[in-house]
Structures are given as structure tokens and as C-alpha cells.
Amino acid sequence: MSDTNLTINRRHLLKTAGGAALVLGMPGLTGRAQAATTITVADPGGPFGPAFRKAFYDPFEKATGIKVVNVAREAEPTAQFKAIVETKSYTWDVCTLTLSARDILVKQNLLEPIGFTRDAAPGLMPEAITDHWMGTDVYSTVFAYRNDHFKDNAPKSWADFWNVEKFPGRRSLRKNPIDSLEQALMADGVSIDQLYPLDVDRAFKNLDKIKQHIAVWWTGGAQSTQLLQSGEVDIISGWNARLQSAIDGGAPATIVWEQGLYSIEGWAIPKGNPRADAAKQFIKFCSAPDRQAAFTEVLAYGPTNLDAYKSISADRAKVLPTSPENLKKMRVANENWWSENRAAVTERFNSWLLT
């Protein structure tokens, strides 16, 4: 009984704090909130753990009485999802997925519907919510260069990245066809609005031109940070937050948002989960603008609920992918094209690397 009272009080508090939309959407659920329920949430680990705890987990526990245990998931936890669902051993109740992981899992029917629509959180970017998934944070694939190397002659586009005469320096690209193909096409003059469907042959033709000039093919986010920070390379493609963390650590570098491709990570529930109700409640909770604004204090990822910018400082907004200034320079990477073509293009890319 006392639990119910507490919940109501907190609900009231939250309402005044600006979380009205989400809480009103789930009175039935909250009423049933079991004091003893615990959900296990798999986040990307590393800096996400503490940032999400502060922005989502603790406030959610307070609001609903449902305890949140967080664990770190793999970069692409699709194998775990498949194994969890097929063996019905639900070690995770909610997990963040990239768009590509989401599409693979939806196709194999391994996700539970999240049970609410954009009406519940109108500030959400339209591409940040589907039947089975809700985006929480936006990351962008951009490039960064070392100021101490390029000085006044700074590269501004992928065409400049490809121009080894005018912008000499050690270069690094990701050892993966995703994004690299788009970058090659933009460098070849394809406009960011007309990338898809990708002209794969043209992309590889332009990649041929830069192949010999790539000093390092990076394979992991932490590695890209290290390459930029140590000055191993002078110009590097990468995920904005990873490059930003080198800059935050004092590396003299600049991120170029022009022609960036963004993508979204978000929550999903393994199909058949016995705690799906609590999990859905949690996901909905994470759509609130004030909660999303809270994680951007620590992480340089963009909120998916653009209303969050009302409470984010202008200085911080500058390094976030979804701030109006940055967002207009970029487009979302087309996951449909990639889920259709990824296997074949990956094979071709791996083969291309070896020759």
C-alpha cells in the first residue's frame, strides 16, 4: 500500500518536473508496479553506464519502484539476442541496439513490440521510433583533423579528405564498408541527399584512389580515439563522441560536421520477455526530453527528443549531433539499403582490402 502512495507522490513530482507526457501515458502500468520487480538493462558500457544511470536508471527506480540493474552489451549484441530468445533465458530485459542490429533482429522476429507511438513523445525525431524500438541517442560518422598538422589549410569535406596533394597527411578510415562507401561517393561529388541506393562500383573506384594513402584502418571506437589523440594520424573518420573524447582530453583537433552521416541507438526488448511490461515502461520513460538532456551532460551523443535542447546549454549543443546547427549538415544513414546489401558488400570490401 505504502508503495502505491509513494508512486503517486513521485508521479506528482515528476509531472511538475516536466515528465507529464510519459507518466500520463501509463497509469495502468504504474498501478501494477511490483515493488520487487528488477529489470536488467544492457547498455553500451564504458562511459554510458554512469551517464545512463544518472539520466535514466535512478530516476526510473524513483518513479516506479522498479529496480534497474545495468550490464554492458557487445557492440553488436545480435547473437546474444538470438540466443536469449531461442533458449528463453532472459538475462537481459532491455538492450540498446543500433539500427542495423534492430533491422536484423526484426527480420528474424526476435523483438517484442514496445507498445507506444510517437504521440506519447511528439518531440522525438520521426526516425527514432518504430513498433519494436525507440532511439535514445544519436551518433554521427564524421571526420576530424589535427589542428597542429593542417594549421590554416583545413580540410572541410570528404573531397578534401580524398585530396592527398592539397591536404597531405596520414589518413585513417574504418576497416568496414559501412560509411566508408558513402564517404567515397561524397568525395567523388555525389550529393548527400542522393547517396542511396549506393553506386557500389563508383564507390570502390574512388576508394581505389585513396587505398595507398590510408596509414591505418581502424577497427574499434577506442582505437580511433587513440589514433587521433596520439597524433598517429592527421585526419581520421570516426564517430563524433569518440573523436570528441580525444578533443576533451586535450588533443588539438577539430570535428567536421559537414556531410556527416548520423545513426541512432535505442532500446529494444527480447521477444517473449516475461518482464516486458516493466521493460516497456522503462523505454517510454527514456523518451522524456529532460531525461535525454541529462545524459548529454556527460556523453557527446545527441538526444532523439529534440525538445531536450530547450534545457541544453548552447556550448554543449555545439558538440551534439542533433543540435539544429549540426543536424542540418547531415543525413541519416540508410539502414534499409545496408540490411539488403551488407553481406555482399562486406565480402567485396574484405576482398578489396586484400588486393
Binding site: T40, A42, P44, G45, G46, P47, F48, V69, V71, A72, E74, A75, E76, P77, T78, A79, Q80, K82, A83, E86, T87, K88, S89, T91, W92, S100, I104, L105, Q108, R170, K175, I214, A215, V216, W217, T219, G220, G221, A222, Q223, T225, Q226, Q229, S230, G231, E232, A241, R242, S245, A246, D248, G249, R342, A343, T346, E347, N350, S351, L353, L354
Partner: protein, 594 residues
């Protein structure tokens, strides 16, 4: 694998009894039964279940060879297989080349000194692969330690390309594998009676000849075992080529992981794994024919039967090598004098030991850095990363769990593997080769395949996210190391000592514990340590079986570094390093006083 070869060799000595009688009579081979049962349940069954996906049509479940057709019709997979084998073979070659003189030197030291030096050789073991590899990036990079010294001193005008190419991968892999090579060769070398060399020299052999024709030949079981262990463990590497390699250094494990985790095409992953498995088995079979791997499976000398011609060839090669090295030694002696020559070995060994401890030496100051990055030299010092570690219940419980799981794994693997090794050494049966293959197999199958297979099995029997599940999974991986190490030491064991004990009235159990075990102690300790380290540094099984909740140290490090690498990893490495050193020194003291 080498089954046929070994079987035909061992069968020669087996008494010609009818099959049924041979199977039923009391046979030492039964000692291998626990290990075989363990592997059948926790390795063979889950892996075969997963590999069977590769011959099924994902939609209809009907038999299909489409995945294999795709491998055959696309050259990239066979190319990557070739690269994988080349890198693994070179790693084995260089680990043995670099490790042999070191093991030789260690074998000649007094017991106490040797044990302390072995601790140095093992230093790389106690630093996680992840941290070691990042340390090499700091050492070998363009702005790294070596290049700064070279350009700073004017020895080189341009930074040398030491990383992000084949050289970088070789440095990372050889560094990780030299301890394995040395510790496999060492017990065999210690077992060699050095008076044999004196005898050879008294009979007129030059030092080079007595070395190559007597000592080296006697140390060959260790060399073969070490080379094989390194080769096979190297086949599954993916962290080192991913972080230190260039465009071309892609290994098959990386492609399999992409298929399993990113593309979720398990049928194709199964096909790739099966291809790697078959290729590895063929290689081991050829290796057996060339180098007489059979010497490992417990067959005693002088019964080499079918390999007679190869054996003669081997001996004549050794003779040529002996002559060549005698000539070389002459030249060297003339150039730097006898005194210089006698110091060469210790100079070399000092350099080799420096190579082994270098990354760890770097990690220690980085643990105390004030920077947010793994950079060397640190711009300033602070204890913040140790504070992060000691104030985090997640890190602390992961550390405790890793030590506990590794200790349990080491005990299980040493006992099960030791019994199996004993079984093979003491029984003359045609099944020996098969048993040998079975115990080596977990090394050849990529870990991600074992991990996914085990996840399915464990989910069915409720072992997900349990410590027991981790111990079982790690024991599967550690068994081959324990088994091969003990087999190699038993190879040189004089069984007449057991017979003597029996004659003097000891029963079998008594003989085992009072005679055999104390005499092969070196091998048992090495097996225990290999198994311990295999578990302590294991990541893939931990990722699947722990469910993220029962996290181990490597898993926690991995989670922490996927996105952001910070010096907490270095601080953790320092803590682990100190704990392990203290434990090893205490164990050493305890052993000496009792």
C-alpha cells in the same frame, strides 16, 4: 587428425589380441574417460550442433551445401584462411626461435634462480591481451616510444613504420606467445641429462655437434609441442591483428565473429569454422608426418616405424645444421673472442626478457597517470585510476571472480588433462591418436563457436550467468594446454622408476602420488599455470556465459574499452600484476621451506 599415423605407430607394440579382449582388459586408457566424457558433453555436442547449421537451409532445414559453395566461389575466404595460417605459422616459428635459447639458458640455471627468471618470462601472461596490445600501440606507433627515441637521437630521420602492418602483428603475437613456447620447452629441457653432452664431447664431438645431435634432438619433443601449441592458439587471434594490423592482416576469426555477431548468419559462420577446423586438422596431420608429433602421444623412442625415412632425413638436416653452426661459431669466436662468445647467450637472454617485460613496464607508470589516455610518458602522476578501481564494486567483484574461476579451472584442467596424458603414456592402443586429437580439438575450434554452442547448452541446463558455467567453459579451453604440457613431460619420464616402485611394494595409487607426480611436478605446475592463465585472460566465453552479470576481469575490461579506453585498465593491470607476483613468490617460498 594425426590419428591414423599415431595409431599405426602405437599399434606395432600392442599385443595382437582380439579387439574385444583388448577393449575389455584393464587398460590405462580408462584414465582418459573422465576427460573424454567431459569433452563430449561440453565441447563436441554443442559445437557439432552449431556446425550442423552450416549444412542446413536456414528456411526449410533441409540439407544444403550452399554455404560451402559460397566459400568455394569467393576467393576472399580462402585468401584470409591463407593469411591466417601464414601469420600463425610465422608466430610459431619466431616464438620457438626466440624462445629456444631462453629456455635453454633457463634450463641450465640453478633451481632457485631459474624459478625467479621463469617469473619474468611469465610477466606478459599477467597483462591482459587488450592492455598488452594497446601498450604495443604506444610503443610502436609513429609518435611511440621507439620512434621518439630513434628520431630524437637522430638515428632515423623519419619515424619507422612499426605498427599497422605485418611487423606490428608479429610483434604483438610473438610477444604474447613466447612465454607459451618457453614454458612448454622448459620442462623437457630440464629433463635432459646434460652429462650426455659431456659424454659426446669426451668422445670427440665439437660443442656445436654435441648440441645439435644430442641436446637439440632430445629437446625436440618440447619444440614440437611448443610449436604446435603456439600455432594452434594463434589461429584464433583477433584482437592483435585488429589493433596492430594493416589492410591485409585480417584473420579468419575476425570474419567468423562478424558473421556470428553482426550479420547473424550462423550457418555461414559454421561453414567458415568448419573450413578452418578441417584446414587445421590437415596441417596438424602434415606436421605429424614431418616432425613426428607422435612422440607426444606417449609412444616411446625407437618405435618410429613408418617415419624411418623422414627420420633419417631429419637427422641429416640436423647434421648439416650442426656443421653450419660450428662454422658460424668459429667465425663469431674469431671476431669477438672466446670471452665475448660465452657471454652471448646471457646478453641475448637479457634482451629477450626485456622484450617480454617491456609492455608491462610501460603499463605500470601509465596506471599512475594524470591523463585520460594511455600515453607514455605520462604528462603527470595521480592515483585517480586506482581510486576508480578500488571504489568500484564491479571491478573488485570481477577481479575476485576471475581469480576464483581461474583457480577452479586450473585444478579441473590439470587433473582431467593429467589423467588423460597418463592414459596415453601408459597404454598402447590404436585409439591413442584419436584421444590425442580429441584433447587438442578445443584449441582449433574458434572460441566464438564454442561460446555460442555452450550458451545454448547452458541455457537448457540452467548454467547461464553462473560461476560453474564459466569454470566448465574455461576448462574446455584450458584442457589442451594442460594435456599437451603434461604429455610432453611424461614423454621423457623413465617408467622404470614406476616399475621399481612396484617391485618395492608400492601399489598403483601410491606409485602415482609418491613417485610419478613428484618427478613430473615441473610439468604439472606448468600445466596448472597455463590453465589458470587461459581462464584468467579469457574473453569470448565470458561474454556469452556471464550474461553481463557475473562479469570477469577481461569481460569488464572489454566493456570498458569498447568505446573508451582509459587508464583504469592500466591500474587494474598493475593491481593484478602485484597480486600474482606476491602469490607466486609466496608459493615459491612455501614450496622451498616444506
Amino acid at each position: 587428425m594425426s590419428g591414423k599415423g599415431i595409431a599405426s605407430m602405437t599399434a606395432i607394440t600392442a599385443p595382437a589380441l582380439p579387439l574385444r579382449q583388448r577393449l575389455l582388459r584393464p587398460n590405462a586408457l580408462w584414465l582418459a574417460a573422465p576427460g573424454i566424457a567431459f569433452l563430449a558433453i561440453f565441447f563436441l555436442f554443442p559445437v557439432l550442433r552449431l556446425l550442423s547449421l552450416s549444412v542446413q537451409d536456414p528456411a526449410s532445414g533441409a540439407l544444403s551445401v550452399a554455404t560451402y559453395a559460397r566459400i568455394a566461389n569467393t576467393d576472399v575466404y580462402l585468401q584470409v584462411l591463407g593469411i591466417t595460417f601464414k601469420i600463425a605459422a610465422n608466430t610459431a616459428l619466431f616464438s620457438i626461435l626466440l624462445g629456444y635459447p631462453l629456455a635453454y639458458w633457463l634450463a641450465g640455471l640453478k633451481d632457485g634462480l631459474r624459478e625467479r627468471m621463469v617469473l619474468l618470462v611469465m610477466v606478459p601472461f599477467w597483462t591482459s591481451y587488450l592492455v598488452k596490445t594497446f601498450a604495443w600501440m604506444v610503443v610502436l606507433g609513429r609518435t611511440g616510444v621507439i620512434n621518439s627515441m630513434l628520431t630524437g637521437s637522430g638515428l632515423a630521420s623519419q619515424p619507422l613504420p612499426l605498427a599497422y602492418n605485418e611487423f606490428g602483428v608479429m610483434v604483438g603475437m610473438v610477444h604474447a606467445m613466447v612465454p607459451l613456447a618457453v614454458l612448454t620447452m622448459l620442462p623437457v629441457m630440464i629433463g635432459i641429462d646434460r652429462r650426455l653432452i659431456q659424454a659426446a664431447q669426451a668422445l670427440g664431438a665439437a660443442p656445436a655437434q654435441s648440441f645439435w645431435l644430442v641436446y637439440f634432438k632430445l629437446s625436440l619433443p618440447g619444440v614440437t609441442a611448443g610449436g604446435l601449441l603456439v600455432f594452434i592458439s594463434s589461429l584464433g587471434f583477433f584482437i592483435v591483428p585488429a589493433l596492430l594490423g594493416g589492410r591485409r592482416e585480417t584473420m579468419l576469426a575476425q570474419l567468423i565473429i562478424t558473421q556470428v555477431q553482426e550479420l547473424l548468419n550462423w550457418a555461414f559462420a559454421g561453414a567458415l569454422a568448419a573450413m578452418m577446423l578441417v584446414a587445421a586438422l590437415v596441417t596438424v596431420w602434415i606436421y605429424d608426418r614431418l616432425f613426428g608429433l607422435s612422440s607426444l602421444s606417449g609412444e616411446t623412442s625407437g618405435q618410429e616405424g613408418g617415419t624411418g625415412r623422414l627420420r633419417l632425413l631429419g637427422l641429416s638436416i640436423l647434421r648439416v645444421v650442426a656443421k653450419a653452426s660450428a662454422l658460424l661459431a668459429d667465425v663469431v669466436r674469431r671476431v669477438i673472442g672466446t670471452r665475448g662468445t660465452s657471454k652471448l647467450l646471457s646478453i641475448y637472454c637479457t634482451l629477450a626478457l626485456m622484450f617480454l617485460v617491456l609492455p608491462t613496464l610501460l603499463v605500470i607508470p601509465i596506471g599512475f597517470t594524470s591523463s585520460q589516455f594511455l600515453e607514455f610518458p605520462p604528462p603527470g602522476y595521480s592515483l585517480q585510476w586506482f581510486e576508480t578501481y578500488f571504489s568500484s564494486p564491479v571491478w573488485l567483484s570481477a577481479t575476485l571472480r576471475s581469480f576464483g574461476v581461474a583457480a577452479a579451472t586450473a585444478i579441473c584442467a590439470t587433473v582431467i588433462g593429467g589423467l588423460a596424458a597418463l592414459a596415453l603414456a601408459r597404454s598402447n592402443t590404436r585409439w591413442g591418436g584419436l584421444v590425442f586429437a580429441a584433447f587438442l580439438a578445443p584449441m582449433i575450434v574458434p572460441r566464438i563457436i564454442i561460446a555460442v554452442g555452450l550458451f545454448y547448452l547452458f541455457a537448457q541446463i540452467g548454467l547461464i550467468a553462473t560461476d560453474l558455467g564459466l569454470v566448465i567453459g574455461h576448462t574446455v579451453l584450458a584442457l589442451p594446454f594442460a594435456f599437451v604440457t603434461i604429455t610432453a613431460i611424461l614423454k621423457n619420464y623413465d617408467w622404470r622408476l614406476d616399475q621399481a616402485a612396484a617391485v618395492l611394494g608400492a601399489n598403483r595409487v601410491k606409485t602415482l602420488f609418491l613417485v610419478t607426480v613428484p618427478l613430473v611436478k615441473g610439468g604439472l605446475v606448468a600445466a596448472f599455470l597455463f590453465a589458470f592463465i587461459t581462464s584468467f585472460d579469457e574473453l569470448t566465453i565470458a561474454i556469452f556465459v556471464s550474461g553481463g552479470i557475473k562479469t570477469t576481469l577481461p569481460k569488464q575490461m572489454w566493456d570498458d574499452m569498447i568505446l573508451q579506453l582509459n587508464p583504469t585498465l592500466a591500474a587494474v593491470s598493475v593491481v593484478v600484476f602485484v597480486i600474482v607476483t606476491v602469490l607466486l613468490l609466496l608459493a615459491e617460498r612455501f614450496r622451498r621451506t616444506t
